[in-house]
């Protein structure tokens, strides 16, 4: 579904991604783990079109999207719930969800999808008229995921969905991610919480200072001594 070849990204003189290649197949949960500054967020931003690569290609469902605009990528079915949630804080919960469906014109279907998001996150329904900035961290994360789902993505990219959340909520968010995946959405998950991410992932890539240092199935990587030492606190 998603195929990245030899992707290079620069920020001025800084070489942030040094020729990474990765693949996400339809129906999978793929996770990208690694330390701070390894380039995980940059990878997702480049996939969603916010950052232009200096070299390399990105293919989505067989189409070259390397130079496509972010709008076109949303239209094709790539959606990103960005790091730090980035919800529109002074707009209401409902307005945030409606913006998630910005490119869609099918009003009746949008309504249906909003009620589906409410079903998945009942707390958002209670707070639909509230300014999104007044929600708690966990609720904001739910809103960010709900908003990203409103474009009916084929590939949902999630950047650190567990950041800053209490352990109980982290579990809940991961359950939700698995459930979204079961209902047919492919997921590319960036996480610092490596053990949780590896548990739910079909496959995983480990990033280190702009390169991919290791890849394999979630289970394989969980057994790897290197990973245990570096990321799982063992």
């Amino acid at each position: 579904m998603l195929e990245i070849n030899n992707l290079n990204v620069h920020f001025g003189v800084i070489h942030a991604l040094k020729g990474i290649s990765l693949k996400v197949e339809e129906g999978e949960i793929v996770t990208l783990i690694g330390a701070n500054g390894a380039g995980k967020t940059t990878t997702l931003r480049t996939i969603s079109g916010l950052k232009k690569p200096t070299d390399g290609t990105i293919f989505f469902n067989g189409n070259d999207i390397t130079s496509a605009s972010p709008q076109d990528r949303v239209r094709m079915g790539i959606s990103l719930a960005p790091e730090g949630r980035r919800i529109f804080s002074s707009l209401t919960v409902l307005e945030n969800l409606e913006l998630g469906a910005y490119l869609r014109r099918d009003k009746a279907e949008i309504k249906k999808d909003i009620s589906m998001v409410y079903e998945r996150f009942p707390i958002l329904k209670d707070r639909r008229k509230q300014a999104a900035g007044t929600l708690s961290g966990g609720e904001q994360q739910m809103l960010a995921i709900g908003r990203a789902l409103m474009s009916r993505p084929k590939l949902l990219c999630l950047d650190e969905p567990s950041m800053g959340l209490a352990p109980l909520l982290v579990q809940e968010i991961f359950d939700i991610i698995q459930d979204i995946n079961r209902k047919g959405t492919t997921i590319l998950l960036v996480e610092q919480n490596a053990s949780m991410a590896l548990q739910i992932a079909n496959r995983a890539y480990v990033m280190e200072t702009g390169t991919i240092s290791l890849s394999g199935t979630g289970a394989e990587l969980m057994q790897s001594e290197e990973i245990k030492k570096a990321y799982l606190g063992g």
Binding site: S48, G49, L50, S69, P70, Q71, V74, R75, S79, L80, P82, R86, I87, F88, S89, S90, L91, E95, E98, L99, G100, Y102, L103, R147, A148, S151
Partner: protein, 294 residues
């Protein structure tokens, strides 16, 4: 008391014009964090377009107004595309300096074509020459026209910003440009649209001021532009209702100072207000204190 009410009437008329200009400042600031110093010159161009429509083509006020708004809209979009869009990722100071350059270009470019002399709007006809007496307070038909047109335009603006798809996009882009892009919003088009709206309102203000004060010149946009900027800061820059309130406030204060004090000081007082706001509440009347994002 009568004099006070009379000054209020005059202040509201002048304030309408400031409010229309301030809206453009505040919307553009809200969306790209630029103080568009060329905005006052769009207002000047609106006044000239209105002048030509009325003097040479003998059009009425409303058709002239619509033409001025349409041409200013176009100019606003062209200026944004040529001057500001290439600087999208430049420093804010670079864009600001460009805006000052655009402002000078419009002022002296206009002067080249229409000469520097002051021109007078043609005398109004029919109902617009009337004035109405409420006790000893005089309200002219022009003042009523100015306030009515301003209110209609503001209501229209509110409708666009609150109810339409592009309005939602404007609000989203002004809150978080990257996140808006992730929603599939075309940020460049949204910014162009914001310039278009602001310029249309400035064009309307230009022709209204031509009708009200009767004389126009190529540098007429400088001072009202700066005052409208003060109005926008007073209300809270980036906040649309703030610009409306600020416009009426600055207009009324200016008229009061001229009426009760010394008209020599009316401009000074407006800028003294700016200094006061910046000391007491830099975020403005309706603004929230925000931390600079890192």
């Amino acid at each position: 008391m009568e004099q006070f009410l009379q000054q209020i009437v005059n202040g509201v008329s002048l304030g309408s014009i400031y409010a229309l200009i301030a809206l453009g400042y505040t919307m553009v600031y809200g969306i790209i964090k630029l103080i568009n110093f060329a905005h006052g010159d769009i207002y000047m161009l609106g006044a000239y377009i209105g002048y030509f429509c009325m003097t040479y083509f003998h059009l009425g006020v409303i058709p002239s107004l619509l033409i001025a708004m349409a041409i200013c809209t176009l100019l606003g979009v062209i200026i944004e595309r040529i001057a500001y869009k290439p600087l999208r990722n430049a420093t804010r100071i670079a864009v600001l300096i460009t805006a000052i350059g655009v402002s000078l270009f419009l002022e002296y470019g206009t002067m080249f074509f229409v000469k520097a002399n002051v021109r007078s709007y043609p005398p109004l006809k029919g109902i617009l020459t009337h004035s109405f007496k409420l006790g000893s307070i005089v309200v002219t038909a022009q003042q009523i026209l100015i306030v009515c047109i301003t209110i209609i335009l503001m209501a229209f603006l509110q409708f666009i910003v609150k109810r339409t798809r592009i309005g939602k996009a404007m609000r989203a882009v002004s809150l978080d440009r990257d996140a808006a892009e992730l929603m599939g919003i075309n940020v460049d088009n949204t910014i162009s649209f914001t310039f278009a709206l602001g310029s249309a309102l400035a064009g309307a203000a230009g022709i209204l001021v031509g009708i009200y004060y009767n004389s126009i010149n190529p540098l007429m946009g400088i001072l009202p532009g700066l005052k409208a900027f003060v109005a926008a800061v007073f209300g809270g820059i980036g906040i649309i209702p703030g610009a409306m309130i600020g416009g009426y406030f600055i207009g009324t204060v200016e008229v009061m100072v001229a009426g009760y004090g010394n008209s020599m000081f009316k401009d000074a007082v407006v800028f003294a207000i700016l200094i006061l706001i910046l000391i007491v509440k830099p975020s403005g009347l309706l603004g929230k204190e925000t931390k600079e994002k890192v």
